[in-house]
């Protein structure tokens, strides 16, 4: 379970990106975090794994206060939080296998990782995950030879091989076409179900969020302004989050045509 208490971030440019965010996410729950660009969505999930240091407040994962951990403790805590990025953030010049195995770096020693001698059970798990995301044939390709959708699948495998209890997902579909976007969202949500993971998924596509998650949190200039079921997202709520617009078309039930999951 993830618990945020009064989490606040003021960047040293003076931007108050998060102000006093308090929320809790029980095990196994997948949450969509919506809000306009600049609302603080990325800052929120980065404060959780401390790629960004929160200014005040605390974040607790399974009752461990992440905010006060020293560097060794933080490394251990990060192993429990898999992160998936908007621009995939694969190390481009490494192979698909190396990228996936890099998710095990928190568990193996330096020399083993330097010579790429990962334990066989890690390698087997990497094969299993690559098979699950449909990329078993790509093991020895370099990451920069893959398409966007394929890269994001590698990113998902890298996060999952950490054996996390929480996924932090930052706009996973923002660089993808609509069809691939749905496939990737479906894959993430399915994998969370299979493994009982909780997840925070930053997303600006409201319709896509409504399609896949049980709970939506709306963020606006660093504050939580909505927290509820996807069906509760009314035009009034969207106006509060994003400002005045005609929201009827966005909310209209997008019929979920069956696509094959590649």
């Amino acid at each position: 379970m993830l618990q945020l208490n009064g989490l606040t971030k003021v960047y040293n440019t003076g931007d108050k990106a998060l102000s006093d965010v308090t929320l809790s996410i029980p095990d196994g729950q997948v949450v969509a975090l919506i809000g306009p660009s600049g609302a603080g969505k990325s800052t929120l999930i980065r404060c959780v794994n401390r790629l960004v240091e929160p200014t005040s407040g605390e974040a607790l994962l399974d009752d461990i206060n992440i905010t006060t951990l020293g560097s060794g403790g933080l490394r251990k805590a990060r192993r429990k939080m898999g992160m998936i990025f908007q621009e995939y953030a694969l190390v481009e010049r490494l192979t698909v296998m190396e990228n996936v195995l890099s998710g095990r770096l928190g568990y193996v020693g330096f020399w083993r990782s330097l010579f790429r001698k990962f334990p066989q059970k890690d390698v087997d798990e990497a094969y299993r995950l690559l098979d699950r995301v449909g990329l078993l044939a790509m093991v020895d390709k370099r990451a920069d030879e893959l398409s966007g959708g394929q890269r994001q699948r590698v990113g998902i495998a890298r996060a999952l091989i950490q054996n996390p209890s929480l996924l932090l997902v930052d706009e996973p579909t923002a660089s993808l076409d609509p069809k691939t976007s749905r496939q990737i969202m479906r894959l993430i949500v399915e994998l969370c179900e299979e493994r009982g993971l909780s997840a925070i998924i930053n997303i600006h596509d409201v319709a896509l969020a409504q399609m896949f998650v049980q709970r939506v949190i709306g963020l606006e200039t660093g504050k939580v302004v909505f927290d509820g079921a996807p069906t509760e997202l009314t035009p009034e709520v969207l106006t509060q989050i994003y400002g005045e617009e005609d929201w009827e078309a966005t909310i209209e039930k997008v019929d979920d045509d069956a696509e094959e999951a590649v």
Binding site: L51, M83, E92, G106
Partner: protein, 270 residues
Amino acid sequence: MSVALEAKLGQAWKKPHFIKNPAWRWALILGSIAYFAAAWSGIDINFGRIARGWERGWQFISAFGDPDFTSRWDDIYKGIYESVVMTIASTVVGIAISIPIALGAARNIAPLPVYLVCRAVIAVSRALNEIIVAIILVAILGFGPLAGFITLSFATIGFLAKLLAEDIENMSKSQAEAIKSTGASWTQWINFGVQPQVMPRLIGLSMYRLDINFRESAVLGLVGAGGIGGTLNTAFSRYEFDTVAAILLIIIVTVMFLEYLSGIIRARIQ
């Protein structure tokens, strides 16, 4: 159609001047012309001296038609051998020292105190010209390739650490962050998140520096720091232009070979 648009239509468009103030612009243009005119008239050409030098220059050039590799072969061989050893050793040692300094000199990796120290090392290395360092070291250590070796290692640090640090500063932050977010240690983070991003540049720069060090080693011999330069200097002072030609040809061929080699290697690592 708006009034603002109406007023614009039919007007020619010109790119705005780089220097907006016309007074400054013309002052700069006229100033530059005056400077070049003064500089040109200041060149003092002594035609008599050129005519006398021409003959010796021609002897030198014609020696390339008939280079003499044999009569001083032992000296040439010893010089080349020393230069090659000096070049390879100083490049390897220089690179080995440059890498940690480059990591320290990259602002996005190193904390401020480390950054300042490493930048200072680079600045000192770059400020001191190879010849000056070599003269000082020859004075301290005596004639021979040890002085040349240390000089070139030192110069390699300034060159390689600076350019590598710049490449590290330009790396993709998100790729490095992704590795950090897995719980990797600092060394693992460097190895997985940073190294793959800068490796092609590191190899390219190292090859280029090998090439520079070889050419420098030929110059350092002139001040007594060992290598083929010493042999070259001796041949010059004896007016043995055919031996000089032979040595220069060997240097040119070696540099061309290094160029070819680095082309192959760089094509393979991209």
